[in-house]
Every structure is written in C-alpha cells, then in structure tokens.
C-alpha cells in the first residue's frame, strides 16, 4: 500500500498554505486591500483546517487512513499480552463485579460498564510499536443497536474512528419452522439474542479491515481507556496481539496431503437456516422462485438468505453442520449476487472460528444474476478442507478491506476538488462571462498539476477496482474513467474549467458526482445464499438452476397459479373478523399481523388486516357498501371529506374518547374536527426542519438562519457562489398545497377563515403581510421557484440550506456517506415576534378512522385504542427496525412513543420533538380544496405574471367565498339565499384541550 502523497485538509495535518493573493481590485485603496486579504485569509484558514472559535466540537484526530497507525507494522509477538482489568485494577466509573457473578465466567472477574461509564487500566509491553486490541465482552440485555465504545491509549484518541467502535453481538431466529399466513405465504421469523461471551478485535465498522486497527504503544507501561456509549456491557479479558500470519492455500494443501476425499452424500445446509447472525435484521428472503429451494408455485416461500440484509461490512452469518467421517470436503455455495452489475463482493470465510487459509479472507464472490455454485478455491484450484467427524461451524462475513484505500482516497479527492472549486469561485464570482479568458494560473499556480494529479488518481483507482472485479464489461467503476477524462480536458484548457464549473462540481454530470456514484457501491457486499453443500464428490452437487424447459414449465405453473391463489390485498372482507385496511406496504402489514396476535390474545377478537394499495378503492368500496370496519394509515385529508358526507364514525360518541388524547399533541386532531365531533386519530407524522451543510456554511462564515429575515440577510453571500435556499414551496411542483403556504400565514398570526366558517378572511392585515413575504421571497429575493430534488441539490452543494421533511433526513443519513459529519439540522425557519421565533409547521401525515357502515363500532374502537397506545406503537416501531433494518422507520404521532423509538440519535430527536411541539395544523372547511387552490393560484399569479399581491389575494377571496357558500348550502349550514343557519365550527387545539378536561358537549 504505497503511501499517498497528498494532504487531506478537512482534518489532521494543518496545511498552513498561504492564502492566494486576491486579484488586484480596480480601485485599490490600501486599507481595502488589507481587509480583503484578511477576510480571504480568514475564510481560507477556516476552510483549510485551522480551527477557529466559530467551529465548535471539532475533533482533532485524523482519520485512520491518514493517521500514522495505518502505516505502522504490527510487532511479531511470541505470546499475546492478556490483561483482565477487573483483576489487575482500573480507575474510572465502571464497576468490577464480584467473582462468580459474571455469567459463564466462573471465578474470573469482569468489569460492568453502564451507559457513558469508562475504565482506564494499565498494560506493560516489552516492545514499542503496533498492537491489535481484542476484547472479550458480554451484552446482558437485548438492544436494538450494537454496543459502541471508544478506546483511548495513553489518554488520547489515536485516530477518529477510535471514538466509536462497533462491537456486534449474535442473534438467532426463534424458530426456523416458518409460520404460514392466511394467504399461504411464509412469514418472516422473529429474532432473539444469543447470550454468550463474544471476542472481537477493535476494527473499522465501515470496512472490517483484514488487519484490525493498530494502536501504537510505547515501551513499558501504557494506559488504555475504554469508554462506553449507550448499552451496558461486561468486559472480560483484553488481549494485545501482534502480527498474525495465515497459511496460504498452497501450504494448506500441502499440509493435508495424503488425506482422502469423503464419500457419501453431500451435507446440505439451507442458506436461510443460519444458526447465528450478527444483526437482528439479517433475514431470509421469500419468493416464488423455481430455481431456489423450497418452492411452491403461486406462493412465497422462504428460500434463501436475503442478499442485501448482511451486505454491510462486519455482518456475518454462521452455519452449524456435522459430518460423518474424518476426510477432505469441498465447500460449495449456491448463491446469486445481482445488485450491481459486475461488482465483486468480498467475504471472509471462517471454519470453527478461524480463517481457513489466507485466500479465504477477502474471498471474492463474483456478480451473478442467476444462481451459481461456487466451490471454495484459490487461483482457480478447488481446495477441499479437512474436517473431523462431528460438528463444525462455518462463518461467512462481509468485508470491505480491499476497498479501503481506494474509497478513502476518493473521498479525499472529492474534498480537494470542492476546495479548489471554492477557491476558483472566490476569484471569478458566480456568473462567469463565458467568453472571458481567465488567467487562473496566476491566482492558483498549482491548478494544472492538481488537476492532472486528480486524473492520475482516478486512473490508478480505476485499475485497482478493475483488477478486483476480474471481469470485463461495464462496471460502475467506469465512472472514474469519465471523471479522469474530464479532468484531463480541464487541465488542458483552464478557461473551460472556469466556464463550466457545474461539470467540475455541483452538476449532475460533474466530476464529483461521477466519483461519488462509486462510493456507496463499494461498501456493499451483497450475496444471497440458497444452499451450501459440504461434499467430497463435486459431481454429487446438483445444478444450480433448472434447465431451460424445466424453468419455462415452472413459469407456466406460476402463471396458472395467479388465477387460483388469493391475492394478499384489500378486498377480502369477512364477517367474523374485524376488517382493517392498512395504508402501508406489505412488510409493515405482515409485522402488524404479528403484532395484532397479541390483541387477539387479550380480547379474543380476530382481526383481518389487508394492505390498501390505493385509497380511491376505499371511496369506491364505501359507495358499493363493501367498506371495511376501520382504516389505519389513511391520508390526513380523507377523514374530513368522508365525515362531511357521513361515511365515518364520530369518535366522540365513545365515552372514553378523552383518554386517547393524553399522549398526543392536541393540535394534531384539528384536521379531523367538525363542530363538536372528532372523526379520526393521527397515526404518523412528518416533520419539517432546516437542513444545512456545516462545511459550506463554515467556509463562507455564515450562521444558520432562524428567521426569514436571517435568510434574506445571507442570500447575497450565497448567490455570489451560485447557491440558494430550498423551501417547501419550491419542492411542491404544480399545486402549492396547504402545508407549504399556510405556515406563513400562521406564523404571522394571520386569519384564514372567519369564526363562523362562512368566508375567508384573507383581507386581514397579518395575512396580507404573510402573503407578501411568501411572494417577495420569489419575486424580490429570487429564491428558486422550483427545485425538483432537494436531496440532490443538498448533496451537491447547490442548496446548502433548506427546509424539508423527514424523507430528506433519512435520505441524507443513509444514502450519502460522503457527507457524514458535514451536515446538521436546525428548527424550521420562522418569523420573529415578541422575542420568540414562531416556526409552526403542519405535522400529521396519516391517520386512523372507523367507517360508519361498520356493524361493530365498539370492537373497532377497542382495536383503534389498542393500536394507538404508547406501548403498542413503541413496540411496533422498534420491532420494525429489529426485523428489517434501521432504515425501516415508523414515525408515530403518539408523542410518548416517539420519544422512545430508536430510529434517530438522541440529539436529533430532541430537535425534532422541539419542532413537533410547535405544530399548527390547518383547520378544515368544506371548501378547503378551493381555498388551497385559490391561494396557490394567487401565488402563481404574483410570481409568474407580476400581479400585485393584494389584487391576487382579492381574487382568491372571491373564489373561495363563492365556493364556501356553495358547499355550506350543500351541507345545510346555509339556506337557499345564503343566510347562515348555523356556524361551521372548525377545529382548534383549544377545543381539543377542553375535551381533554371533560368539558364540551
């Protein structure tokens, strides 16, 4: 691994390069020049890694890739050093357990670490140098997330990753006798912890390096500090080890010379029958695939290990099997790996806890869209393993070790390119005159060499990746060649670079974009396993796929089965069970069915849950009289329309209705209120927050805006660099629905409807002011009116600040690894009034309601109450993540349950809860759709046609009032001549509060 010779300027070495001279100004008075130089120097320093007071909480250690540890060789040790801190003594907040109290340890002592506790102990080594640290640990309880801890040596963190080291535990399926649901499909198994002591070397959780993290110790006495994060655990022995030499395949074969291959039938292990797994959400896959086993046409059977469930480095599965004789056996894996074309996947293969031989580490699993049999081999030669009679364990573990260098190098290059881009923009400003010639080399002398150096890195890394994939043909790594060609083109013609900055960074076909396309793919080691054969005779292993005709015949059978099998969809309405339609996807519905078995146990009521793909079906079902008893997960605008027309049940008729209000923000019921009735309960929420790029804002020296005035203040600086701010209005497309426009009015405390609901009050001065701001932002201040994907613009740095919903949060968190640590969240932007910032936003996403045509309203009410309870909601949210992975999030509206779910880190959750406390929902009126459209059309008229805001608002008032009158007449609130018979009261949180207290009719 040749040391790369470039500097990573984000962290680590302080590159004290002098800032470049700014171009001579037309009017250069001496002091102006000096202040300009100072500003430039300050900004350049802030960006080039010198820590200023403005940047708080900045870590000072380098990443492992740049730390001296990475290049340090491990010492060769005759014997490992083993230390048990409980016995040799330690300092810190952790506690030593008495002998015989730690499970499975007998008299050996252990140290108990609670959350955020630490222990510092000493080790003495004879030689200075590099050592691996291995811990024996035990996690006593079942938790959603893995144990993470920090390790410091001699009082300092030697590299950034040592602040958060992942220590996995093992799980198993409770039963691999899969239950079958009402439609004949297998159901996913439930996971359960395996409580044993685990041993693990401290290693990278992104890559799982072949050589675990090297810690540098000095000669003699060293102190090691272990700090715990959230999950309590027990620590046993700490082992310091040195270089481990693995035997090569050649040596292995030679050592087994003279032994014979086994006879008899192959031992067959099903890929889905793993005995242990490293994460709870590593699950099998189910489908109706004739090439896999088991298979039933027309039904989904669990037949293989899910390809993507264990794709992250460090995840592993273990298989236990036994053989009859001491002999040589081939290990054959029937697998498919089809996520990315021609991408290799790497696994470590262990037998009985140890690597078989050197080539079994970073073992390459080639891309294969169809099932194929892979015999464990080295350099093309199949290598049988020697197994004694009895039980053995095979472990397959995902690793990204071979990609470590390449990926870290590429991330570094992206950082450097971004810096270069900002440097160029300092000089040229934003809208470059395309015909101007820039003498850019005068200002940035090394630019040509830098560009060529980047291109060189592209080519080198491409060759590395191409060598790894060992196939010809298209590959995602080809993007690096495109990047290289662009860089070479730019180095030849620097003016072209300046005039086409969006091909350098920020655009969708920019160099940085091409590079970042390759990054996430590299970390993913996907492999679906149907079967594993342990056999002495390779000819006894069956073909991986059915032949052409046999496969075709099965397709015909499956097609025929589609006519007979009952589809798992809404429509199955039976009389004996409570029928619930759910507006969620199939995996969540399956989990709900599991969850509801507890309800059936408690109350004896059988429940029939089905997935409702399209809400229109609900409307048609109501007209046809085949509606279900209740609906969970309907859109938040449905209940109002249905209630007006008498299609759903008034929940206030149930005497214990006030109890359900306890756990919720009362504002969230507002959309479901008509007069004194409440027709639905909120189920899930969305939150609108501000997202910002820490690196860009720091480089430009801008604060995070809290109010719209702040936004306007930073706009000039942002647009100097071609950047802007995202707003929900810009994301909304054609119709600017209420959630994008109403918050402005509410933040200005403007009136929307009159008290009696008979007209709109857009003429209110506050409302006019709000509307003026809403349109000024786009006319006067030129915020972009249309941003199709905030996530993309955010990633590329085009909109480094913006408000958006929770989808964006999960996208940024999970889909952009290159941004980790570089972005943050803040409360949404609001309006200042009387010393505080009003940043109301609507929150309710989906809701649950009971249909009026139900014959069992009390039963439906029981089910609804039970489902929306704090316990059930928390369990469901956690279960979903446990079973399917941390990206399956469930954002419940039950505020108590929301505070307990583990889907986001605590600090983010605190911010979100603060925002959710500021929820303001939009009250509903029978003509609300017209009001929404009128407001959106008025905005459109002002922004695109230059109509004055007040005139446009007047048009909106007229249209809305007309429609309101029509609707109120239709529903009997007004008589034929337009006189108000009774007021249409809309919801408000005050009303909900009064219900809580038991008041109101």
């Amino acid at each position: 691994m040749a040391a790369r010779n470039f500097r990573r300027k984000r962290r680590g070495e302080n590159a004290a390069s002098p800032p470049t001279d700014n171009p001579p100004l037309a009017s250069s008075s001496g002091s102006l020049l000096k202040t300009a130089v100072c500003c430039l120097a300050f900004a350049a320093c802030a960006f080039f890694g010198v820590k200023t007071a403005a940047a708080a909480n900045v870590e000072t250690e380098p990443y492992y890739f740049y730390a001296p540890n990475y290049k340090t060789e491990l010492n060769s040790l005759a014997e490992n050093y083993v230390v048990n801190p409980a016995e040799t003594g330690f300092e810190g907040t952790a506690q030593a357990l008495a002998p015989d109290t730690a499970p499975d340890l007998g008299p050996t002592q252990a140290v108990y670490f609670g959350p955020n506790q630490s222990a510092t102990f000493q080790v003495t080594v004879a030689e200075p140098g590099g050592y691996n640290i291995t811990l024996d640990y035990y996690v006593p309880d079942e938790f959603l997330f893995n144990l993470t801890l920090a390790a410091a040596v001699n009082g300092e963190y030697q590299f950034y990753e040592s602040r958060s080291l992942d220590m996995p535990v093992r799980w198993e399926d409770i039963s691999q006798d899969y239950k079958v649901d009402a439609y004949g499909n297998d159901m996913y198994p439930r996971p359960r912890r395996i409580y044993t002591w685990e041993t693990r070397a401290l290693n990278s959780q992104l890559y799982l390096l072949k050589t675990p993290f090297v810690f540098i110790l000095k000669e003699g006495v060293n102190t090691i500090t272990i700090e715990n994060n959230e999950i309590p655990f027990l620590l046993g022995n700490v082992t310091l080890s040195g270089k481990q030499d693995l035997i090569t395949a050649r040596e292995y074969i030679e050592s087994q010379a003279g032994k014979s291959l086994a006879g008899g039938l192959p031992v067959v292990i099903e890929g889905e029958h793993y005995s242990a797994k490293s994460q709870s959400f590593i699950i099998p896959a189910k489908s109706s695939d004739q090439h896999a086993y088991p298979y039933t046409p027309g039904h989904n059977r669990i037949n293989s290990l899910r390809e993507v469930a264990w794709a992250d480095s460090g995840n592993f599965v273990e298989y236990t099997f036994s053989v009859d004789e001491d002999a040589l056996y081939y290990i054959v894996m029937k697998y498919t790996a089809k996520v990315q074309k021609n991408k290799p996947n790497f696994k470590n293969i262990y037998l009985d806890g140890r690597p078989i031989f050197d080539e079994a580490m970073n073992y390459i699993i080639r891309y294969s869209p169809k099932y194929r049999n892979e015999v464990i081999n080295a350099d093309g030669e199949n290598i049988p393993v020697y197994l004694t009679k009895g039980e053995h364990t095979l472990r397959l573990e995902s690793t990204g070790d071979l990609l470590y260098d390449t990926r870290e190098t590429l991330i570094g290059v992206i950082g450097e390119i971004n810096e270069l881009a900002i440097q160029i923009k300092y000089i040229t400003g934003n809208k470059a005159d395309k015909n101007r010639e820039w003498e850019i080399e005068t200002y940035i002398p090394n630019i040509r060499e830098d560009l060529l150096r980047f291109a060189d890195i592209m080519e080198t890394e491409y060759n590395v990746l191409a060598a790894l994939s060992r196939t010809s043909g298209g590959n995602v790594a080809d993007n690096l060649l495109v990047a290289r060609d662009t860089l070479i083109e730019f180095s030849g013609d620097l003016d072209k670079l300046v005039n086409n900055m969006d091909r350098f960074t920020q655009g969708s076909n920019s160099v940085t974009e091409y590079i970042s396309l390759v990054l996430p793919v590299m970390l993913y080691q996907n492999m679906a396993i149907d079967k594993i054969y342990i056999t002495g005779d390779l000819n006894s292993v069956p073909e991986p796929t059915l032949g052409f005709f046999a496969g075709l015949w099965e397709e015909v059978r499956k097609f025929a089965a589609t006519f007979t099998a009952v589809p798992d969809q809404a429509g199955l309405v039976t009389d004996d069970k409570l029928n619930i339609w759910v507006g969620k996807n199939m995996m969540q519905v399956e989990l709900m069915r599991d969850t509801f078995t507890r309800f059936t146990e408690e109350t004896g009521m059988e429940v029939n849950l089905s997935s409702m793909a399209d809400e229109q079906k609900l409307l048609l079902a109501v007209s046809a009289g085949t509606a279900p008893d209740m609906v969970i997960g309907a859109s938040n605008y449905r209940p109002f329309d249905f209630a007006l027309r008498g299609a759903i049940y008034d929940l206030r008729r149930f005497p214990d209705f006030p109890l359900i209000l306890e756990d919720y923000n009362p504002e969230m019921f507002v959309p479901f209120i008509i007069n004194d009735s409440c027709y639905a309960v909120p189920e899930t929420i969305n939150f609108i927050m501000t997202y910002y790029r820490k690196d860009i804002l720091n480089a430009l020296g801008l604060p995070v805006p809290r109010t719209w005035d702040d936004v306007i203040a930073i706009l000039p600086e942002l647009s100097r660099f071609g950047m802007s701010v995202n707003t929900p209005i810009a994301n909304a497309g054609g119709i600017k629905h209420f959630g994008t426009t109403m918050p402005f009015i509410q933040q200005f405390d403007g009136k929307i409807y009159s008290e009696d609901g008979s007209r709109v009050e857009f003429g209110d001065p506050n409302t006019v002011a709000a509307f003026k701001l809403m349109t000024d932002l786009y006319t006067r201040y030129s915020l972009p009116e249309s941003i199709s994907s905030f996530y993309n613009s955010f990633k590329r740095g085009v909109t480094p600040i913006g408000m958006s919903g929770l989808d964006t949060y999960y996208l940024i968190r999970y889909a952009t690894p290159e941004l980790s640590g570089q972005w943050g969240m803040a409360p949404s932007i609001g309006v200042e009034s009387g010393g505080e910032v009003r940043n109301y936003q609507a929150a309710v996403a989906s809701c649950s309601m009971i249909m009026a045509g139900t014959k069992r309203p009390e039963d439906a009410w029981e089910a609804l109450k039970w489902w929306m309870e704090d316990e059930t909601q928390t369990a469901f949210g956690n279960d979903l993540q446990l079973r399917f992975g941390s990206d399956y999030v469930y954002n419940t509206a039950n505020m108590k349950a929301f505070a307990r779910v583990k889907s986001m880190p605590e600090d983010v959750k605190a911010l979100v809860l603060e925002q959710l406390a500021n929820t303001r929902e939009i009250p509903r009126n029978p003509a609300y759709f017209q009001v929404e459209r009128a407001l959106a059309n008025s905005w459109n008229a002002v922004v695109f046609q230059g109509v004055t805001p007040r005139t446009a608002l007047d048009d909106a008032i007229i249209l809305s009032n007309r429609e309101i009158t029509k609707k109120l007449k239709e529903f009997g609130y007004m008589d034929e001549r337009g006189a108000l018979l009774k007021p249409f009261e809309m919801g408000s949180s005050a009303k909900v509060e009064s219900w809580k207290a038991g008041g109101g009719e």
């Binding site: 395309k434 027309r645 054609g734 249309s786 759709f929 059309n937 459109n940 008229a941 695109f944 029509k966």
Partner: protein
C-alpha cells in the same frame, strides 16, 4: 294439398352478433345511459343519488366560471390544434413514409409510432426533465448556456406555457393507430390508378395526392379522423401528468376531461361530473358528424 314448410329459425346470425352486442351494451351503451341518468342527480359518491333535474346543466352554463373561462377555450384550442393539425401531420408523415423503401420504412414507422404507446406517466417523466424548472432542466440549461435567458423559466408552472407545452407533447405523441391505418391505406392504393391519372393529365405530386390518394382511402381517413377527434377531446391526463396536479396551475391547462376528473373524484361531485361528461359526449358527436360528412363514401 298440404305443404309442409319447414321453418328453422336461423340462429347463426344472433349467435354471431351476441359477443359484440353484449360487450357493446355493457361497456358502451349502459355507461352512457347511466351517465345521462346520474347527470340529473346530486351524487356525492357516498350517499345515494338525489334527483335534481337539470340543475347540473344550469350550473355548468351559469355558475362554473372555470368552465367558461378556461376549460371550454382550452379544450377547443387544444382539440383544434391537436385534432386537425395532428391529423394533417399524420397524413403527411404517412405519405412521406410510403415513399421510403421497405426496410427503413419499418424502422421509421416504429420510431414514429412508439411515442403514442408511452402515454401517461412515462412520457411525463421524460418531458418533466426536459422542461424542468430548475437550471438543470434540459431546455433551461440549453437556453442558459446560450445566454438567451438569465434565470430558469418555469415551463410547467407558468400559466402561459402550460397549454402550448401540452399541445407540443400531444402532437409528438399523436402518431397513433390512425397513422398506421393511413400508412396502410396509402400503401394499398393500386399503382395503376396513378398511371391512369398521369395519362389523364395530372401534372405533379400534389395533384396526385388530392385527386387520387385521398379519394382512394376515404375509409382510412375517416378512421384516422375519428381517432384523432376522440383523442384530442378526451386528452386531459397529459396536463395533469406534466404539472403534477389537477387542476393545473391557474387552470391554464385544464381541459374538459381533467375538469370532469376534478369534480368527480377530487370534489366528490359525481352528478355534476357526469353532466360535464354528457356535454363532452355531445361535443364529440357534433364534430365527428362533420368528419363523417367529409369522408364517408357516397355510393
């Protein structure tokens, strides 16, 4: 004398017609009759319909400002341009293709026909990217780099651009089944007719079209005309797909079909929507009558 005349009821004719008649009744006649009946009621999709007489029709003409200001003009403009213009384009393209030798003709015909197959969301996705509103939309990007505009234009949100864009996209996709029928018609004309016409004094190819080609393929022309008319009048989905919303911003792209969907499914006014659809039916009937007069063969 007794004559035994054996009468057997010939069942073959009714049996032959039965499938067609059944399907026609159930899928064409019944919906039209039901629509006509529903149009005389107040029906909000949930409660049972309530008879109100001609109130819906009165409302269309007197109360519905969107109908008068936007929907009717948009529909007529859209249909006149996409209908006849599209029709003429189809004919010209079919005629041009007929001159091309066989192999290239097949490929080109496929290329022209395929857009009409990809209607709906697929087409909207492509065109949304072309007409995208930020600086990365293709047209915006092109115009910005040529420095024709300074700021990205909101093609799909500004009211003045929506209808022209709908028309352009529909014309692009209008080479449908009618086009293929006309191509077949032209190719089937007996070449001897042309020779005879040239002998009789035809001077150039334009006269050839007018005097020989068009009269010889009147049935295909009629078919093409009816298809074009029906498609033009019932096109509304394209506006909704492009702008992403129904109704389109400021009702700029609102056609009768979209208006019907709006009232029927989004506003829960099914009775009113069926009245609108009856109006649409009458409009189409009138126009296709005209087409009939033009193209039906008079023996």
């Amino acid at each position: 004398m007794k004559m035994k005349i054996k009468r057997s009821i010939d069942l073959s004719i009714p049996l032959n017609l039965a499938p067609y008649v059944t399907l026609f009744t159930f899928f064409i006649v019944m919906p039209v009759v039901l629509a006509a009946l529903l149009s005389l009621t107040y029906f909000n999709s949930v409660e049972f319909p309530r008879f109100v007489g001609l109130a819906n029709y009165v409302n269309i003409i007197t109360q519905d400002s969107v109908f008068m200001k936007n929907v009717l003009p948009n529909t007529l403009l859209f249909s006149i341009i996409v209908g006849p213009v599209g029709y003429v384009l189809q004919f010209l393209l079919a005629w041009a293709l007929a001159q091309v030798p066989k192999r290239p003709r097949m490929v080109l015909a496929l290329a022209f026909y395929s857009p009409s197959l990809t209607l709906g969301v697929t087409m909207a996705i492509i065109w949304k990217v072309v007409f995208g509103g930020d600086q990365f939309g293709y047209i915006n990007y092109l115009l910005l780099s040529l420095q024709i505009i300074e700021k990205p234009v909101q093609w799909l949100q500004s009211p003045e651009f929506i209808l022209p864009i709908m028309i352009i996209v529909s014309l692009w996709a209008s080479m449908g089944v009618g086009f293929l029928a006309m191509l077949a018609g032209i190719l089937n004309i007996d070449p001897e007719l042309y020779e005879a016409a040239y002998i009789d004094g035809l001077k150039n190819r334009f006269q050839e079209i007018v005097y020989v080609t068009v009269p010889s393929m009147k049935p295909q022309m009629l078919f093409g005309a009816v298809m074009a008319i029906v498609n033009a009048f019932s096109a509304g989905q394209i506006g909704i797909d492009l702008t992403g919303t129904n109704p389109t911003p400021q009702n700029a792209g609102q056609t009768l079909a979209a208006h019907i969907e709006d009232h029927g499914f989004l506003r829960y006014e099914m009775g009113y929507a069926t009245a609108l659809s009856v109006v649409l039916l009458l409009m189409i009937l009138v126009v296709s009558n005209v087409a009939n007069r033009l193209f039906v063969e008079k023996d």
